[in-house]
């Protein structure tokens, strides 16, 4: 097991004037045994970052260390990592056993130890009965387990997951999420997990890296990221529905975007006057979309309410009041979070 250190990591394709930089200096210290989720929209560089740690992409600048070793110039196999790929990348012509054993065979681990390790991993993942089958005879969920098994048997210092759940259906995904958590508790191996799904990120992460456009926007626990987003991007990316970002709230300080999460707006007898445009029923709660017309323009505000006896009707006007301690302030020009007012 090992820590991972990213020091000003940069990735660019091409060189000279035509160079296209896709990762702009990422710094992160990941402690031994931590489960880190890298989350962001597609094209934000999260997979590239992971692949640089894996050694599948060259590091253009900066430094990546796993444990005490700088791994910039090491082949993937020498980095003591194991990776679970999005499409599992199982070798189609090999049985499940051979798939899991292949890396060990190349590393010249003695056959009886390979057997023991594969059997152990198969037991943990409950894929024992399938060891002699070919990947094509397995369901998506089972293949996913085999892919994880292949990673486990190598007993690596670091696990890398590249959106491993995106090909599973919703139910299986939730179940596998729990299993990955359990697995991490049992094995305690440092893990990097890339996903575009914020629910996955929130539920799995001990700490999460939120990426946007090749820049690390925030690195913190899910709690921190949710309650104190570092920028308007994080505020709108994490949380569903996203935080309301009001660019021209009348009572805001100058050059400030006011952020308030939908669940922190209460329907009150007086306050911001919203005209209801849509109401969505989600079961336990409702989303109310209201247009707030104020002196300097109008804005769409989303409210999440559990109230069921008083349902706002379309076109009616309701009044809402934000909870004072839940209001966020962001710089309008940069989108960065403003320093907390004392």
């Amino acid at each position: 097991m090992a820590s991972i250190t990213l020091k000003n990591v940069i990735k660019r394709y091409g060189s000279g004037k035509t160079a296209n930089q896709v990762i702009h200096g990422v710094n992160a210290e990941i402690a031994d045994g931590e489960f880190i989720v890298i989350v962001g929209p597609s094209g934000c560089g999260k997979s590239t970052l992971l692949r640089m740690v894996a050694g599948l992409e060259e590091i253009s600048d900066g430094q990546i260390s796993i444990g005490p070793r700088v791994v910039n110039n090491l082949e993937p196999a020498e980095r003591d990592i194991a990776m679970v790929f999005q499409n599992y990348a199982l070798y189609p012509h090999m049985s499940v056993f051979e798939n899991m054993a292949y890396g060990l065979k190349i590393a010249k681990v003695p056959m009886d130890e390979i057997k023991a390790r594969v059997d152990k991993a198969a037991k943990i993942l409950e894929i024992g009965p399938f060891l002699q089958r070919k990947p094509r005879e397995l369901s998506g969920g089972q293949r996913q387990r085999v892919a994880m098994g292949r990673a486990i048997v190598r007993q690596p210092q670091v696990f890398l997951f590249d959106e491993p759940l995106s090909n599973l259906d919703a139910k299986l995904r939730a179940q596998t999420r729990l299993e990955i958590q359990k697995l991490h508790r049992e094995l305690g191996i440092t893990s990097l997990f890339v996903t575009h799904d914020q629910v996955e990120a929130m539920t799995l992460a001990q700490r999460m890296i939120v990426m946007n456009g090749g820049v690390m926007e925030q690195f913190g626990t899910p709690e921190e990221v949710y309650t104190r987003p570092a920028s308007t991007f994080v505020a709108s990316f994490i949380g569903s529905p996203p935080m309301n970002l009001l660019k021209s709230a009348p009572d805001a300080p100058p050059d400030t975007i006011v952020g308030i999460r939908p669940e922190h707006l209460d329907i009150t007898p007086s306050g911001w006057a919203l005209q209801v445009e849509a109401v969505e029923m989600l079961g336990a709660e409702r989303l109310v979309y209201g247009r707030w017309e104020h002196g300097s323009g109008d804005e769409l505000v989303i409210i999440r309410t559990e109230e069921s006896h008083h349902v706002p009707t379309l076109g009616s006007t309701i009044h809402v009041t934000p909870r004072a301690d839940k209001i966020h302030h962001f710089e309008s020009s940069t989108g960065k979070r403003k320093a907390e007012q004392p």
Binding site: A54, G55, L56, E75, P76, A77, I81, A82, M83, F85, Q86, N87, Y88, A89, L90, Y91, P92, H93, Y102, G103, I106, A107, K134, R136, R150
Partner: protein
């Protein structure tokens, strides 16, 4: 079939049976001829039912009989040179496709197109210079001379290239993470995955090699290095003597057996490969 009524079914079957008859009749006639005595077969009308001279015809063909060209030897020569051509073609094409698809080296595109363009020229076009090279190397009347000039193949290289391009990148990366070097990846993953393509090519190239006529005609000058295609022509004779049709046909039937055997045998692989796709 879209239509399922009786009329179209009968029509379809009639056409297919007719087609089969057209294709099969010459082969049948060859079989019949090989069982006749030379005199019987030369009479009009040509006999359409097997005669009683089967044993004599085939033993004459196999041992050389009157023409002194034993079929057994010619089949052996054909078999060896065909196997060298087939396996040579498959291994060289696999390797060159591997290089072209998986390695980034300078002038890679140029190499690919050079292979492609030069090898689109068939043996006939380059037969003069090829003969010169083979003769200078002293390879006339050797198995190497019969097979090596026919080994390089753009078709097979192209086919494997297309197949390799469909192998997902993730598989390559998984192998890298597992610590497999390029040749290990080639041997353990790429070649096993190409099995069905290899089987298909084996059939095609075996028949290509077996049916070679022009090249062996000039590369083999001594009788004991004649492959079956060339030998058949010799048995037919050129002089005044009437050809011994029973021996010629027996030779032709024997010459057909190995490729037929290969097709029948590999057909199972084809079907297997088509039924359980491994992706």
């Amino acid at each position: 079939m879209v239509e399922r009524n009786t009329g179209t079914r009968i029509l379809a079957h009639a056409i297919m049976i007719l087609g089969t008859l057209v294709v099969a009749f010459p082969i049948y006639l060859a079989l019949v001829a090989s069982t006749q005595t030379p005199q019987d077969f030369r009479q009009a009308p040509v006999p359409l039912w097997p005669g009683s001279n089967l044993w004599a015809s085939y033993s004459a063909a196999l041992t050389g009989g009157t023409s002194n060209l034993p079929v057994a030897r010619m089949i052996w020569v054909s078999f060896v040179s065909t196997m060298v051509i087939t396996f040579g073609k498959i291994s060289i094409s696999l390797l060159s496709a591997f290089a072209v698809v998986y390695f980034r080296f300078p002038l890679r595109k140029l190499c690919f197109w050079a292979i492609f363009i030069t090898l689109m020229l068939p043996v006939e076009v380059r037969i003069g210079p090829t003969y010169q090279v083979v003769a200078d190397l002293g390879l006339i009347n050797t198995y190497a001379g019969l097979s090596v000039p026919l080994i390089a193949s753009a078709t097979a290289t192209f086919l494997f290239r297309q197949f390799f391009l469909t192998v997902p990148d993730e598989l390559v990366e998984a192998a890298r993470v597992d610590g497999a070097g390029p040749m290990r990846f080639f041997k353990d993953i790429l070649v096993p995955l190409s099995r069905t393509s290899i089987a298909a090519l084996f059939v095609i190239q075996f028949i290509y090699g077996w049916n070679q006529y022009l090249w062996p005609l000039i590369a083999a000058t001594s009788q004991d290095m004649y492959p079956i295609g060339v030998g058949l022509k010799q048995i037919l004779g050129t002089g005044d003597a009437a050809p011994e049709w029973n021996v010629v046909m027996a030779t032709a039937v024997l010459a057909m057996l190995p490729p037929a055997f290969v097709v029948v045998l590999m057909q199972k692989w084809f079907v297997k490969g088509l039924v359980d796709t491994e992706k």
